[in-house]
Structures are given as C-alpha cells and as structure tokens.
C-alpha cells in the first residue's frame, strides 16, 4: 500500500493518460506523413492536375495534428495535476503518521517539487516511447526516397557532433565563479539582516548597504565572462546549424538532376533531414524520464517510512501511574537507555535530571510514546502504551518541548490544534501565555507569521498546547528559555497542579527539582537514583549535575 511505483503513479493519473498516448501517437504519425504528402502536393501542383486530393489530405493532416496537440496538452496537464495531488496528500499523511521529527525543508521540496516531477511518470513514459519514432522514421523515409540521402544525413550529423563538442567544461567553470561572488553578497546581506536592531539604532544603514554591495563590481566582471563563453558557443551553433539540411539538399539535388527523385521528394527530404536532426531532443526526453524516476524515488523514500501503529484499547480509570519495565533504547551503536525499570506514582510531580546525553529526553519521548523502546515496555495505569488507541493515548498524555514548533494559521490554532476557543484561552491562562498573547496585534487571532516570539514565549504556547492532557503531562526541558521570573511563575503552576496529573519534568534547574515530589537521576542511560531532591543533595555527584 505504501509503495509508489512508476506504474502506480502512472495509473493515478486517471482516465486521461490513454489520451496522452493517443495524442502522442497521432502527432508522430502527422509529423512523418506530412512531408511526404506535401511533396506529392507540390509535384501535383507543378504537374497541373490532381492536386486537390493531396492538398486536402495535407490540410486534414494539419488539422489532425492541431487536434492531437490540444488533446495532449489538456490530458497531460490533467494527468499530472491529479497524480501530483494524490502523491502530495500521501506524503503529508505519511510524514505525519511517523511521529518523528523530519527535515521539514527537505520534505517540503519533496511535496512541492518532487511530487510534480514524479507525477510526470505517465506522460514522460509515453513521450519516451514515442520520441524515438520521428527521427527513426525520418531516417527510414529518407532511405526510401533515396539511400544517398540517408548517407548524406548521417555524415552531416557526425560533422555537427564533432564541431559542437567541448565547451561545457569552461561554462561550468565560469558559472561557478559567478555563483561564488553572488554567495558573498548574499552572506553579507544575511548578516546585516541579523544585525538589524544594531544597525537601526546606530543609523548606519547606508554604510551597510555599501558594504553588502561591495562585491557587485566583481559580480559584473564574472557575469561578463559568462556571456563571452555563451557568445562563442552560440557562434559555433549558428555556423554548423544548417549543415545537415544542406548536406541532404545537396545529395537530393544531385538525385533530382539525375532524375531519380521528383522536386516534391527533394522538399520532403529536406523536411525529414530537419526532423531526423531532432534526435538531439531525445536526450531531453530521456532526461525528463530520469528526473521523474529520481523524484519518484525521493517520494517513495518518505512513503516507505514506518507509521506509528496504535491499538484499540481505552484507559481504565486510574491515577496516571507510569511504569517503565526493562526499557532499552538504542540508536545505531549507541545505547540511549539501558534496562530502565521505573514506576512513577500517579499524580506526582517527577523531575528527571542528569547531564546532557544521560537519556532524559529519550525517557520523556517514551512516556509520550513519541518513540517505542527497542526492549521492554511502558505502561500507563497498567496498559502498555502501544495497546492504547490513538484517541485514548493522546487525550491522556500531553508533551511540551524545549523548542516547540507551532503549527497553525493563528496563535489560537497553534495552541488548540482543533480545540474550541474557551479551552485555548484556559490553557493559555494556566501557562501564563495569555499575558503576552493578549498584547499581540490581533490577540489570539494574530497570524503566527505576524507574531514574532522569543524562545520563552514559544515555550509558553507549547506548554499551553499540551495542557489538555488528562493524566500525564511530559515536559521535556520545556521551560528552559524562560527568564527567571516567568520560570518561577510557571513552575508554581506546575507543582501545584490542581488536576492531579502525573507530571514528568525534564529539567536542568535545581529549583525545579527541589519543588518536585520525586527526582529521577539518570546517568548514561541508567537510573542512578530515585528520591527527593533534599535526600539526593547529599551526593556531590548529584549536585554536580546542576553545574
């Protein structure tokens, strides 16, 4: 179900793909037939009789060609649009269902650009299948008119190939230098934008402008060089361009003089020479196919990522007791958590402390089932987390992060993610986010893009977003960017949570640990000790955790 094969995508293009094929084939037929018919028409016109039939046939072919092109354009666009939308929707759903952080920029390029390229699978397959027909057919028809024509054609083609070889390398070199200079200007601009407040306060914007634009003279020099390279190659192309046509016309002219062919044949031969030289266009079509395949591969990579599977169970009544049983988590060769056995009593505020890399965040992710252990299991009120249904699990457990990513059109959306407004406001009040949200230009309706926020403000919204949790609230270093005052306010709200929820609080601050009911001290993936802050404080190693 998750594979996105070439065939599957081509089929997703829907009912229009056969029309793409019909249009392509009729186009090829018209292209190949028309020169011969025109030749006959010319001969008949000159001979002064029976021209009407050929002229009518030529007119009919032109009309057929135009109709085919109209059909092809419409069917091709419709096919690609349908398949691309299908791929995009699946990409987004699959990425969301994995639940793991992804490189969003990379994924967006797959959704935005790669999906369209991959959706070209059907039409490009058709064009590759039909692209070889006009040049090959031309060669055959040239041979049929007169074998010498085919020979002249091939000789001309070889000559053009030889002349046009060997300037791509120099182009790449010159373009590289140009792009580096351009990068210098961009880097300076990025710096200056980053220092906007400093510059604004100092009133030095004109100076900054001059500094950023300083490499512009170099850029122009590099640019001039790119045009010179292009000038040389265009000159060469213009010189050898008519070579194939002239070669065929010369051979055809001699055949005409010798009476082997008619004037109409000569005209048709010239046409076939031009169509045959279109062989070069085949590389473009093949490149299109390669691009579609590469894009499809990038799309399929995402679709192959495993989705989180949920069970069917609901939670029995309970206080929110969390049990970790023999939990081991590995990442590559590293063991992040090593046989952790831990029971967190329901309704308790539990601080998780330890040095960086001790496994605190992994423990938090397990509790919120943002990842599953490689060994062992995690239970909430006796139910293994994977047995819980999606709805039951997410209603019971909420998680706030050190760097929350806010998703939504407005601030209210970002906090609620579908929840009604009164619950949004309530959560924001509880987490002291209401203070600054109400100062935003449109309050809760302020678009996220227009609400520049500090790290601490984001954290407060992230906390508000998790606030709905019914039994367990997981805070993964979720108040670290708050200044002293705000941290204190929120810390009080948390430790005095009136709703009796279990709170698992990953923290670096001694003050937070001191207010918790219980402290879990992790070191190198193992539980060092569990107890109250006061009791643990006797151990100098414990105190060292807080720096």
């Amino acid at each position: 179900m998750t594979t996105a094969s070439f065939g599957a995508v081509a089929r997703r293009g829907g009912r229009w793909l056969p029309f793409v094929a019909v249009a392509a084939l009729s186009g090829t037929a018209v292209t190949l037939a028309l020169p011969a018919v025109l030749g006959r028409a010319i001969d008949a016109i000159v001979a002064g009789g029976g021209a009407d039939r050929w002229v009518a046939l030529a007119g009919g072919l032109v009309a057929l060609g135009v109709a085919g092109e109209l059909l092809g354009a419409y069917a091709g666009t419709a096919t690609v649009a349908t398949a691309a939308a299908w791929l995009r929707e699946r990409l987004v759903r699959q990425a969301l269902s994995t639940g793991r952080r992804v490189d969003a920029g990379d994924l967006v390029s797959r959704v935005s650009a790669n999906a369209v390229d991959a959706a070209q699978a059907g039409p490009t397959a058709v064009s590759v299948a039909t692209a070889v027909l006009p040049p090959a057919g031309s060669l055959v028809l040239l041979t049929l008119i007169d074998p010498w024509l085919a020979l002249a054609f091939l000789c001309g083609l070889a000559l053009v190939g030889a002349v046009l070889k060997a300037f791509t390398q120099r182009t790449a070199e010159v373009v590289g230098a140009y792009q580096r200079t351009q990068g210098r200007i961009a880097a300076r601009l990025a710096e200056a934008i980053g220092g906007a407040r400093t510059i604004a306060a100092a009133g030095t914007v004109e100076r900054e402008e001059r500094r950023v634009l300083e490499p512009l003279a170099d850029l122009r020099a590099e640019g001039a060089r790119t045009w010179q390279v292009l000038a040389r190659s265009s000159g060469q192309a213009a010189a050898v361009g008519p070579l194939v046509l002239v070669a065929v016309l010369a051979a055809g002219g001699l055949a005409l003089a010798a009476g082997r062919i008619s004037p109409g044949d000569l005209f048709a031969a010239g046409r076939y020479a031009v169509i045959g030289a279109g062989l070069g266009g085949l590389t473009g079509t093949l490149a299109g196919l390669a691009r579609a395949r590469a894009a499809l591969h990038r799309v399929a990579e995402v679709l192959a990522r495993p989705a989180v599977q949920y069970g069917q169970m609901r939670l029995p009544p309970g206080p929110g007791r969390l049990e970790f049983r023999g939990v081991t988590v590995r990442s590559g060769d590293a063991t992040l958590l090593d046989g952790v056995d831990l029971t967190l009593p329901g309704g308790a505020a539990v601080a998780v402390v330890g040095r960086s890399g001790a496994g605190k965040s992994v423990l938090a992710a397990l509790a919120a089932r943002l990842r599953d252990p490689d060994e062992g299991e995690v239970r909430l009120d006796g139910v293994p987390l994977p047995d819980l249904s999606h709805g039951a699990l997410r209603a019971a457990v909420g998680c706030a992060f050190e760097r929350p990513v806010l998703v939504g059109g407005t601030v209210a959306d970002a906090v609620g993610l579908g929840l009604p407004r009164d619950r949004v406001r309530g959560a924001a009040l509880a987490t002291h986010a209401d203070d600054f949200v109400s100062r935003l230009p449109l309050g809760y309706d302020t678009p996220l893009a227009d609400a520049p926020m500090s790290g601490g403000e984001r954290q407060r919204l992230g906390l508000a977003r998790a606030w709905h949790a019914e039994r367990v609230l997981v805070l993964d270093d979720a108040t670290s960017s708050l200044d002293t005052v705000t941290e204190m306010q929120i810390s009080r709200t948390l430790t005095a949570d009136g709703r009796g929820r279990t709170r698992l609080i990953v923290t670096h601050r001694a003050a937070t640990a001191s207010r918790a009911d219980l402290v879990v001290w992790l070191d190198a993936g193992r539980v060092c000790a569990v107890g109250s802050h006061a009791a643990l404080c006797d151990d100098p190693d414990y105190r060292a955790v807080f720096g």
């Binding site: 016109i45 419409y74 419709a78 639940g99 400093t198 850029l219 998703v407 230009p441």
Partner: protein, 601 residues
C-alpha cells in the same frame, strides 16, 4: 504589467543599438534560405546544371558563417544589456531587505530572492532579449526573402502569420494571470506544508495528525486546480500556432494550382514553403515558448522582487538642536496593534545622564519595547520619548544598542570593533577590548587584523565583540538588551561593570536578576504597574522583586548596597563627547561592586 514596463525601461540605448546592428548579418541565413532552395532547384538541379544548384547551397553555408559572426557579437553585447539590469535588481533587493529588517519586519525570503530570483530574472531577461530579437530578425529576413521569390506568395503567407502572432500576444496577459495564480498556490502550499511538517513531532504529541493533514489538504487541492487551469493556456497557444504557423502553409497549397497557372515555378513554391516550415514556424515556436515560458517567469518573478523590495521611505528626520542625553519618557503607551492590549501603559521614566538603570520583569512584558522606544526604533502610540529634550528617533549618534543577537559581520576584527568609531586610536581599541573582557578572544582570533566570520564564533563571542564595539563608540547612552545573556555570570559581571564605569548612561535589560543588583536604579515591569527604585528599596517594597531575588539566592539576600554617589551631569555634547576611554573618574571610590570579585579597569 509593472514588470514589463520596468524591463523595457531598463534596456540601455547604446548596447541595444549595437545589438540591433549585429543582428543584420545574423538575419542573412534566414533571408537566403528559401531563395537559395528555389534557385538551386529552378536554375540548378532542374535546369540540368547541378553545379549551379550546389553553388546556391554553398552560398547557404556561407551565409550561416556570416550569421555566426553576427550571433557571436550579439551575445557579447547581451552582457552589456543584462548585467546593468542585474546590478540594479541586486541593489534594490539589498536596499529593500535592509530597510524592511530595520523597520522590524525582517524578510526571510530576501536572501533567496538575492540568489535565486534575481538569477531567474537575469536569465529570463536575457532569454527574452534573445528570443524577441531572434524572432524579429528571422521574420524580417524571411519576409524580404519571400518578397524576392514572389511577392504574391508573400502576400498569401504573411497575413495569417501576423494574425497568429497578434493573437498569441493578445493572450499573454491571460496566460500570465494563470501562471501567477499557479506560482501563488505553489508558494502557499510550500509555506503551509513547511509549517506543518516542521511540527510533525509536536502534532503527533497532540494526536492532531488529521487536523494537520487537513490544513495542507486545502492548498494541495488549490494547487491541483491551478495546475489544471494552465492547460487552458497551453490550448490557446496551440490554436495561435495553428493560425500563425500552419494556416500559411495550407493557404499556399490551396492557392498552388492558381499560382502555377500564373507562371510560378516548382522552385518558387518550394522556396515559399521552405520559408514557412524552416524559418517562420521555428521562429514562432521559439517566440511562443520564450514568451510563454521565460517571459511569464520573468514577469512573475520580477513582480515579486519589485513588490518585496519596495520601501516606503520615511522622510529623514531633521537634526534638531539637543542638549545632553537625559532620557525622559512621559505618559508612554505602546501597543503592537490597534486591538492589542498595551504593552506599556502610561509609563513615566526619567534616566538622568550618568545613571545606571536595570529593567527586570517576565519575558514578553515589554522590556525590549522600552529599549526600542529609548533608541527611537519604536514610536509610542501616545506620550513622548525624549533624549536630550528631542524625540529619540532623531538622535542616532547619541546611543548604542546591543541586542540579544549581537551583530558581527564578516571582515576583520578591527573593522567590527571600529564600526561605530572609525577613527579610534589603537590604544583606545585595546582598552575597550580589555575593559569588556574580550582581550583573550581577540588574541585567540589573531588580533585586529584577523578576519572573522560570524558563524565561526559562538553566540557569547559575538556578544563580546559587540560589547567592545559599543564601549568604544562615542555614544554616551548605552542600552544593553540582554546583551550578555550568552556570557557566563562572571563574564557578564565584567562587561556590565565596565559599562557602569564608562562615562555616560547605562540601561541594562536584565536576563539574570543579578544585573539588577549592580544597577543604581531598577525598573520592575510586571504587567500591572511599573515600579522604579533602588535595589534596596525594591527588596523591601516589591513582592515580585523580592521573590525573584530569593529564588536566585537561596541563601539569605545580601545586605542592601549603599547607594552610589551620583555623578555630576556632565554637559557633554553627544556628537563630540569626552573620550569615554579616559573618563575623569574611572574608578568610583564608593562603587561597592567588589563582593569577592576582582574589579576590572
């Protein structure tokens, strides 16, 4: 069609004339094509003189050689047309982006615009010049050739051709609209998908996968509709080509018997059809793909650049005579939008010359807003912010602001340090560096001549450089907006004490509450009522402040500091101040900073 006007206006006269002049030889091959075919057949191959026929074909090759020289020169001149245009765009983008950022609306797309979009415009602009010029050259050449083969054929071919071209040009506006719509939906899709996919973990934690997928589903559908709508554009183009490219052929064929009866030869008819199929059709097809592809991309992309880099330049404030640099806020109310709760309400604050004020309060409460107001970066909704008796905005030389994210640019260490005082002596630079505690850093970097790149420095190191620069600046009013937050507490102390000892006023937006202990006066912003007072006074009367202080020092709070002797308010001209590096009184004898710490300076 703003972009079209802009692009046309940008065409420089002289290079354009050179371009036109070199186009004449380039037109030769297309002019000769049909004539050569007609003559080669009529007076060569069909007349039993094959060598004459071959000579005419040879002439065609010769013409191609001459055309090649023209083509080469044309592309050389193209640089003279395109490069100045690109320079102009780069200037616009840079200027616009800087001014937007300064106005507090940083534009994340500016850097992409500078590299990607400007390049697209440069390439498509060149492409358009090439295509339009090439089309004109071919058509003029072919028309001349046609008329010389047989004027009557020219009159049969050219009208439908012109009609097709005109119809195509007439539909360009419609096509551009569709294209623009497709670009817009693509951007909306990318933006929405980007925002949602960046939060996969966060969405999963909330179990809101369906909600998030639905957020992207709308833009996906819109994009598919926009893509389908482009099919209409392609169909129109095909029809225009049928009229301009195929109709002339059919007309000539239909008129063929009549033409032959009037004495036209086989060669003449072949020559005419050669012009249609080998010159006019390819030229029209290139024009269509050029204008329909590059042209639309040019218009759409250039429009975006022009829109994004348009700045409403506020009239430059006139310098006003000011006296001193006392900061006075009277009844200042500030809000970020007309419907927003005010961030500051009716705030009164006076910071005398030489004062040292710390501002504390929860994040988001408006501390940085005060800094922005004092530095003239923000304007109050009501009330006034005066520095030395005149509005803050008109006096950039008076103050230096160091924000949380320090500004260091790629260049030498010295260039960065001298940014606000280019003429400073080496001795005063060294003194500033030592004062703020940046000496070890400057040494490690390799001295003042060493080049630095901001991304190779840590946030704390960038702050040290910005601090040294501010210390060195002639500005008497220094505002540190969490400017030391990436330094450790000891380094923060060194830097803050250096500024406290420097001549002039110091305002510190405190990240750590310890900054407040060092200040002469503290402003506590808690969202209800601002409270200003000394550390000691606030400890005794302000519960938030006391609480805060207790939290930071679990041990009993230290004894209140003795008040610092106020310095006489020096009548310093802010634009020509006393050298802050040689203050009259560098070490305040009653400065109680040495609570077990070594005193710098």
């Amino acid at each position: 069609m703003n972009a079209v006007r802009f692009g046309l206006a940008a065409l420089p006269r002289r290079p354009l004339l050179a371009l036109a002049a070199w186009s004449v030889p380039e037109a030769l091959p297309s002019a000769l094509l049909g004539v050569a075919v007609a003559r080669a057949v009529d007076s060569g191959f069909l007349a039993g003189r094959p060598m004459v026929g071959l000579a005419w074909l040879g002439a065609l090759l010769l013409a191609a050689g001459v055309g090649a020289i023209g083509a080469r020169q044309v592309f050389r001149r193209l640089g003279d047309v395109v490069e100045p245009f690109r320079d102009d765009l780069v200037r616009r983008v840079v200027g616009g982006a800087l001014r937007h950022a300064l106005a507090g609306r940083p534009d994340d797309g500016a850097v992409a615009r500078l590299t990607r979009q400007v390049e697209i415009v440069r390439d498509t602009y060149a492409g358009l010049v090439v295509v339009v010029r090439g089309f004109a050259v071919t058509v003029v050449g072919a028309a001349v050739g046609l008329m010389s083969v047989a004027p009557v054929i020219g009159l049969l071919i050219l009208p439908p051709f012109v009609l097709g071209v005109a119809a195509f040009v007439a539909t360009l506006g419609f096509a551009a609209g569709r294209q623009r719509a497709a670009v817009r939906t693509d951007e909306r899709l990318a933006a929405t998908a980007g925002a949602v996919l960046a939060g996969v973990r966060d969405v999963a934690a909330r179990g809101a996968e369906e909600h998030a997928a639905a957020m992207v589903a709308g833009p996906i559908r819109e994009q598919a509709a926009a893509e389908r709508a482009l099919a209409g554009t392609a169909a129109l183009r095909t029809l225009c080509f049928a009229v301009g490219g195929w109709l002339p052929l059919v007309v000539v064929l239909a008129a063929g018997p009549w033409l032959v009866r009037r004495g036209l030869t086989a060669g003449a008819i072949m020559g005419a059809l050669t012009y249609v199929l080998f010159a006019l059709q390819p030229a029209l097809s290139r024009l269509m793909s050029g204008l329909g592809g590059s042209g639309l991309r040019f218009v759409v992309t250039l429009d975006r650049i022009l829109t994004a880099s348009t700045v409403v330049v506020a009239s430059a404030p006139r310098p006003v005579a000011a006296r001193g640099y006392e900061v006075v806020l009277r009844g200042v109310t500030f809000r970020y939008g007309p419907h927003a709760e005010p961030v500051l309400l009716d705030l009164d604050l006076t910071v005398a010359e030489g004062d040292h004020l710390a501002i504390v309060g929860p994040s988001g409460i408006g501390k940085s807003t005060v800094a922005g107001l004092v530095c003239g970066l923000l304007s109050p909704a009501s009330g006034s912010v005066l520095v030395g008796g005149v509005p803050a905005a008109v006096r950039p030389g008076t103050r230096v602001l160091i924000p949380q994210e320090a500004y260091v640019f790629a260049g030498t260490v010295g260039e960065n340090l001298l940014y606000l005082r280019p003429a400073a002596s080496p001795a005063s630079v060294a003194e500033a560096v030592a004062a703020v505690g940046a000496a070890a850093l400057v040494d490690r970097l390799g001295g003042l001549e060493a080049r630095v790149r901001p991304d190779e420095l840590s946030a704390g190191e960038r702050q040290l450089i910005a601090l040294a620069r501010a210390y060195l600046s002639p500005a008497p009013l220094v505002v540190l907006d969490e400017a030391t937050c990436h330094l450790d507490p000891a380094a923060e102390r060194v830097a803050e004490e250096a500024f406290a000892a420097r001549e002039g006023t110091l305002i510190v937006i405190a990240h750590r509450v310890t900054s407040a202990e060092r200040a002469r006066r503290v402003l506590v912003l808690d969202g209800v009522r601002p409270d200003v007072g000394s550390h000691a006074a606030l400890l005794s009367r302000n519960p938030l402040y006391r609480d805060l202080h207790g939290l930071w020092h679990p041990a009993p709070p230290p004894a209140p500091r003795p008040p610092r002797l106020p310095r006489p308010a020096d009548p310093v001209d802010p634009l020509n101040p006393v050298d802050p590096l040689n203050p009259v009184d560098p070490v305040d004898p009653v400065d109680p900073v040495d609570q077990g710490q070594t005193h710098v300076l």
